[in-house]
Amino acid sequence: MAIDARIFQIGFQAILLTAGVLLRDFSLLPLQMALALASAAATQAFWLRVLGLRGVGYLSPMITGFGLSLLLRADSLWLHPLVACLAISGKFLIRVRGKHVFNPANFGVGVALLALPGAWVSPGQWGNDLGVAVWLIGLGALVAQRARRDDASWLFLAIFLGLVAARMFQLGHSFERAWEIFCHQALNGALLLFAFFMISDPMTLPDRPVARRLHVALVAVVAFSWQFLFYRPNGALWALLCLAPLVPLWDSIWPGKRHNWHGNRSLQNIVAAQGKIPG
């Protein structure tokens, strides 16, 4: 039996985080990370107990804890654990037909940016070093493929970067300049991280492949517009967050087979089967 793809994701996130903290001047304290992980796990335990769910593990809160550590910066110690708690709670509470609506880390970051003081996201902080990009692509592709929703990552990148290239052309840049700018965009660590670890989350994408592709394309277009037509940072994060409520709609129009992680019964299926949370 294949290993749960999430094991790879957790391992990779840990490597990235270590590299980022050591090499990239992340303003992230080890304690913030530890608190995020601990809080995510504790929140998961709390909800599993309250809802009486069994057979659901702790891989998901770990991914959320690492994801929040990778994305979110804060000038206090309480913010990471609070956001982790909200993110995991959001996963249990905001559900339609037993399927959670928001990617937990995405939801947590959105809430933190909108509503909490002293929280921010540094989209430029990964830099554009080739090495980082190669690592991200190499390891990320592995995770994405194992999660069998690999089309999402590549489709998002293709559309987003395609639009970036079209914009270069429309702005009349010389070929050399356009290529430089394109590379600068394409090697952005934050973008690749989003593509391989957030939008590829099989749990929060539509189940039917055609719906999934449509949704990913929408996210890419909105992300591009946010960033290059409205000149606001973190386009991808906001696009995914704002469009997430459409996923239940796509699922009702085009029902499909729900994703199930290997070696770990899907929380969603359990929830749906037990009818613990009305959909």
């Binding site: 921010w120 830099g127 940072p233």
Partner: protein, 465 residues
């Protein structure tokens, strides 16, 4: 141990640069060497006030400045500012030295000392030029004379047309300017072109170029550095003072890195130009280490106070001059702020801003050394909610002057001083990429007995000499 003095405001002038956010258009190719360009960007919501300090040193007659701006600016949106504002911001936010004096290990006495800050003033230049009116696909949207400047706001439909217009108006612009101008035209941006009106300049009595300021609303939080690269020749420096309400500013499309700071360094840095030279080479080394791909944070602090202060925080009047529009207007019911005289070393307590309600002003000082290859895009910024203060502060620890035999504590103390000085020297060498031996030579070590051999005292009988 008591903390004492704050020293040396360092002029943030490192390396040489040719241009800034727009480009200088000169008839002569020579004499375009400027020091670091300086910009003040004040922003809250979409409201933006940008001030640009021209450090152009060529012939005044041959000068013009071209800056892409988001809209056609009204006359009231343009102002000629005061260079003092830049000097004040520079002095307040400059990298600084803090000195501590070791207590005498025998007497535990505290020494205190103060040192004067020095803020070198970059030279200025004067300007002049004649306007040509003929347009070629170029529309003169507006033209004003503000202070000593003749200003035209242009819109263009084609980069070739704009290049031709500028050329016909008598400016020898860099060969590939059309290519550099095109993306701004396609983004529907206007061009702010300023020249010096020599007659007006004579009236003002200023021989130097005063900074130009403009206020506008735009969703874009950015600085168009790419245009200035059209005639670039090697790395260029830009220092940006970002004044905001909520928190630290960083670039969203490049890495923003804090400079190494708050470490102990050899005390000789206090002498003469040593600190300035140290900072220059340290910045150069760090920029190189980052492959000229990073923007450095040199300072981030609430404008209301500082610790230690390299210079007084700016007064509300000075802040308004810098463009901080949310600070109380001078003739509203403003409580005058008591500003102390000239103390150099102190902690300023946070003070409330006038005009009712605390409306803080946060200053982020960013310093970037860029090349055309490493910064392919204009700088895009975002204001974070980060409020953790940061300053490039370096610490000097003066050893106590004490004879080795003065008391039993003296000897181990002096030995620890030697160890500490060696660490400081290594720290300095690492930061600046300098030669450790040259640094060691500069260190004047207090006379101490040579290191004891490791076996000294092994047999418990003490003196092995």
């Amino acid at each position: 141990m008591k903390k004492m003095l704050v020293a040396g405001a360092l002029a943030a002038v490192v390396g040489s640069a040719q241009a800034f956010c727009g480009f200088y258009v000169g008839k002569a190719d020579a004499n375009l060497f400027n020091e670091a360009s300086q910009v003040i960007v004040v922003r809250d919501g979409d409201k933006t006030v940008v001030s640009m300090l021209n450090d152009y040193k060529g012939d005044a007659k041959e000068f013009a400045l071209v800056v892409p701006v988001p809209t056609v600016l009204q006359k009231g949106q343009i102002n000629v500012g005061d260079k003092k504002t830049f000097d004040r911001l520079d002095a307040y936010s400059a990298p600084r030295l803090a000195e501590y004096y070791d207590p005498n290990p025998c007497e535990r006495r505290v020494y205190e000392m103060m040192r004067k800050a020095d803020a070198p003033v970059p030279a200025a230049a004067s300007v002049g030029g004649a306007a040509a009116a003929k347009a070629l696909g170029v529309t003169i949207e507006a033209s004003y004379t503000v202070g000593e400047y003749d200003i035209v706001i242009l819109s263009a439909t084609q980069s070739d047309g704009l290049e031709t217009w500028l050329k016909q108006s008598g400016y020898r612009i860099p060969a590939n300017s059309a290519k550099a101008l095109a993306p701004y035209i396609r983004q529907n941006m206007k061009f702010f072109v300023a020249k010096v009106n020599l007659a007006e300049q004579a009236k003002t009595g200023f021989t130097m170029l005063r900074p130009l300021q403009f206020a506008y609303e735009s969703e874009k939080f950015m600085l168009p550095i790419r245009l200035g690269m059209a005639n670039a020749n090697g790395p260029q420096d830009l220092i940006a003072y970002m004044l905001t309400k909520n928190g630290r500013v960083e670039t969203s499309n490049y890495r923003t890195v804090k400079l190494p700071a708050n470490m102990d360094l050899p005390v000789f840095l206090k002498q003469g130009d040593e600190f300035r030279n140290f900072y220059k080479s340290m910045f150069g080394e760090q920029a190189k280490k980052e492959g000229y791909r990073a923007v450095f944070t040199e300072y981030f602090w609430d404008m209301g106070w500082c610790d230690p202060c390299a210079a007084d925080p700016l007064s509300p009047e000075e802040l308004r001059k810098a463009g901080v529009f949310w600070v109380g207007a001078p003739n509203s019911d403003v409580q005058p702020m008591p500003l102390p005289g000239q103390p150099q070393a102190r902690i300023m307590p946070p003070r409330p801003f006038p005009g009712g309600g605390a409306q803080p002003v946060m200053l982020t000082r960013l310093h970037v050394r860029y090349t055309p290859e490493t910064f392919p895009e204009d700088l895009m910024f975002q204001e974070t909610k980060d409020r953790q203060n940061f300053q490039t502060r370096y610490v000097l620890r003066h050893p106590a002057k004490v004879e080795p035999n003065a008391c039993p504590e003296a000897k181990p103390y002096l030995e620890s001083v030697i160890k500490r000085q060696e660490n400081e020297a290594q720290q300095l060498a690492t930061l600046t990429g300098g030669d450790i031996n040259a640094i060691r030579k500069k260190l004047t070590l207090p006379p101490v007995p040579p290191q004891k051999p490791w076996w000294d005292g092994l047999w418990g009988n003490g003196a092995a000499k």
